[in-house]
């Protein structure tokens, strides 16, 4: 017995694509789908930002958020239109913009000054350097660096602790506001990561990173933070790094970016554990909260740059396991030839400079005693 195929639904004609008409020219408009994970991510980050503006005393103003978000959106709309003559809803850029504004701070910004225009050019600069690498630093038709990660890390290293910083590792004493923020972060993480199948990657990162930070705490590492009397050490060292909302956001919403993480499952596990190890290694010598936050962000620049190498490694591992996979592996090119090719490729040179300079400059921060003076409040940050 066979089953008859279901009757076809009456033909309804293709759904008209939305478009706008400018001076007689029809420009297609691409709007996001409701299932787009970027919308979920944006909703999560916007919720935390609103909590920050209302009950968590974030040192960020509405104009700073607006400039960053709108400039990111304008760049994305402009570049996409120029390339494809289509108006695309800038979901990724809006996400980048709010992520940057949510984390980035300029010195001298007061908690309660919600309409401050302080440091707007710096916010605009960070928006630009977050977005541009997305279009120009690419490999295999994918961007290499997570946009907000590169913008934040590079700006923090470039301007230094006298002028900029990122939101504190520990937002507030344990209470209802911080518990609500944790609930939003964990809830948002589950909502987003389940859809993009990145829960395993985030878990692998935490499983590698948290014990390493525990070891550092056990061996007496401490750091200075402006919000704490005296150095942060012992179990509070572990707690304020391992359960820092900043670190959780980095874990759940930065390293898990499907565009910049490896595609294969094994590659993702290697990438997650490598990021954790690099992150811990960069944190180890840091004696200030500023250094630790930059170390967290810089670690991802290193591992994102290594993603093509991780993917090649995974292919070779798989090739050893199966002959079919072996056929797909490109023949090995001698190192000297690869270097010669690489040096002629500006994208590869830029990626190398970023991947080397970010950790190096982060390590140099740990040797700069002035950072400690600033973090301890022994010198005043200049008014911009």
């Amino acid at each position: 017995m066979t089953t008859a195929p279901p009757l076809a639904a009456p033909a309804a004609g293709p759904k008209p694509r939305p478009e706008i008409v400018v001076r007689g020219r029809h420009i297609p408009v691409v709007l996001p789908k409701r299932t787009d994970p970027r919308l979920k991510l944006s909703a999560t980050i916007w919720t935390i930002t609103l909590l920050g503006l209302t009950v968590l005393s974030f040192q960020v103003s509405i104009p700073q958020i607006a400039v960053t978000v709108l400039l990111c959106a304008a760049i994305e709309v402009g570049v996409t239109y120029r390339r494809e003559h289509v108006l695309v809803w800038p979901a990724s850029a809006l996400q980048t913009g709010i992520s940057v504004a949510f984390i980035f701070r300029v010195a001298g910004q007061q908690h309660a000054d919600r309409w401050s225009g302080r440091g707007l050019p710096i916010f605009a600069f960070v928006a630009v350097i977050s977005l541009l690498p997305k279009y120009f630093i690419r490999h295999n038709n994918r961007h290499i660096f997570n946009p907000s990660n590169i913008g934040l890390a590079w700006a923090l290293l470039l301007f230094g602790p006298s002028h900029v910083f990122s939101e504190h590792l520990w937002w507030a004493p344990l209470g209802v506001p911080i518990l609500v923020a944790f609930a939003v972060i964990f809830g948002g993480a589950f909502w987003v990561l389940r859809q993009v199948k990145m829960i395993q990657l985030a878990t692998m990162f935490l499983a590698t990173f948290l014990p390493l930070i525990g070891l550092f705490a056990l061996f007496g590492r401490t750091y200075w933070a402006g919000w704490h009397r005296g150095p942060v050490g012992g179990s509070f060292y572990w707690l304020t790094i391992a359960l820092s909302p900043e670190l959780l956001i980095f874990t759940f919403f930065m390293i898990t970016d499907p565009q910049t993480a490896p595609k294969s499952k094994l590659g993702r596990l290697i990438y997650a554990s490598l990021t954790a190890v690099v992150c811990a290694a960069l944190i180890l010598p840091q004696t200030t909260e500023f250094g630790i936050k930059v170390a967290i962000l810089s670690s991802l620049l290193v591992t994102c740059a290594l993603v093509p190498a991780i993917e090649r490694l995974v292919k070779r591992i798989e090739a050893r396991r199966s002959p079919e996979a072996a056929a797909a592996v490109a023949p090995k090119v001698p190192l000297a030839r690869r270097l010669a090719i690489g040096l002629r490729n500006p994208v590869l040179v830029v990626v190398t400079v970023i991947a080397v300079a970010a950790p190096l400059n982060t390590l140099l921060l740990s040797r700069d005693r002035k950072v400690e003076l600033i973090e301890r409040g022994l010198v005043e940050k200049p008014v911009q």
Binding site: F136, G160, S162, P346, V353, A357, N361, K370, I374, G377
Partner: protein, 281 residues
């Protein structure tokens, strides 16, 4: 072409980000001033004392006056040149004369530094640094003290009374922040003559005028209100707010009655910082 421009831009910003040789500070004004050597005494030219750490530092004190030279003479004369330090905020001439007007011209400025009648103390200010000579025009005897205003920390050697036989450190503690930031250690000495003195080592407190050191009966005051709730005793007004400093406790002052030292700013009723005193064994 655009790609190689990007390489240049990224490399340039990477180099700036190293801050090697202060390259970042060159482009973006740093919060921390350049590291400079501290002053080694309350009189310019004091030699470094052995055993006193005088490393270069970026920390700055509230501006304080360091004596440069004492001059005296009768009538009109040119006094030998003296040197005002490169980083001095300003310098001043302060003194007395007995009769008639006194006019002091400096080699560094057209306007006279002092131009007044000899009634009480005369004072005048200059702002240039380097070698300065003064021309004093007066009718009778005069005595002037030149001082320069510095914001570098002051590193003093221990007072002889602190190291004399029979003197001993009786209590010490480390500073912690209350309303402002502070760092360093305090040590209380009982001198051989029965009086007490106090030394601050590697000390810094957020600079301001009218800061006082006071003893408190609280073991560890945590707020200005906390401090005000308990008995306290004035020790000294701090003219210098960074460095390694000595203070003699006023006669009759007994630090053994107290459990902490507080940096207090009276006009603002603000406890800047405090250090709990622990007995030295």
């Amino acid at each position: 072409m655009l790609g190689w421009l990007a390489v240049l831009a990224v490399t340039f910003t990477a180099v700036v980000g190293t801050n090697v040789a202060g390259v970042r500070d060159h482009f973006f004004e740093p919060a921390t001033p350049a590291a400079t050597p501290p002053a080694l005494g309350r009189v310019a030219g004091d030699a470094p004392a052995s055993g006193v750490a005088a490393a270069r530092t970026s920390l700055r004190s509230y501006p304080w006056w360091q004596e440069v030279k004492t001059l005296q003479g009768v009538g009109t004369m040119t006094v030998p040149a003296f040197t005002i330090a490169e980083g001095a905020v300003q310098w001043r001439v302060k003194g007395t004369c007995q009769s008639g007007p006194i006019v002091v011209h400096s080699s560094s400025q057209a306007r006279p530094v002092v131009d007044s009648l000899c009634s009480g103390e005369v004072t005048g200010y200059g702002s240039r640094s380097g070698s300065i000579s003064l021309q004093v025009t007066a009718d009778g005897p005069w005595k002037l003290t030149v001082a320069q205003q510095l914001d570098t920390p002051l590193v003093e050697p221990l007072l002889p009374a602190m190291t004399a036989a029979g003197s001993k450190a009786i209590a010490s503690g480390s500073f912690y922040n209350i309303d402002k930031s502070a760092t360093g250690r305090v040590t209380v000495y009982e001198q051989a003559n029965g009086r007490y003195s106090l030394r601050l080592d590697d000390f810094f407190v957020s600079p301001n005028a009218d800061l006082q050191l006071r003893f408190s009966t609280l073991e560890a005051p945590r707020s200005s209100r906390d401090y005000l709730s308990a008995k306290s005793e004035f020790i000294v007004v701090m003219d210098v707010t960074a460095g390694s400093l000595n203070f003699t406790i006023p006669a009759g002052g007994d630090p053994t009655l107290y459990k902490s030292v507080v940096v207090w700013r009276g006009p603002a009723k603000s406890a800047y910082a405090a250090a709990s005193l622990r007995p030295v064994r």
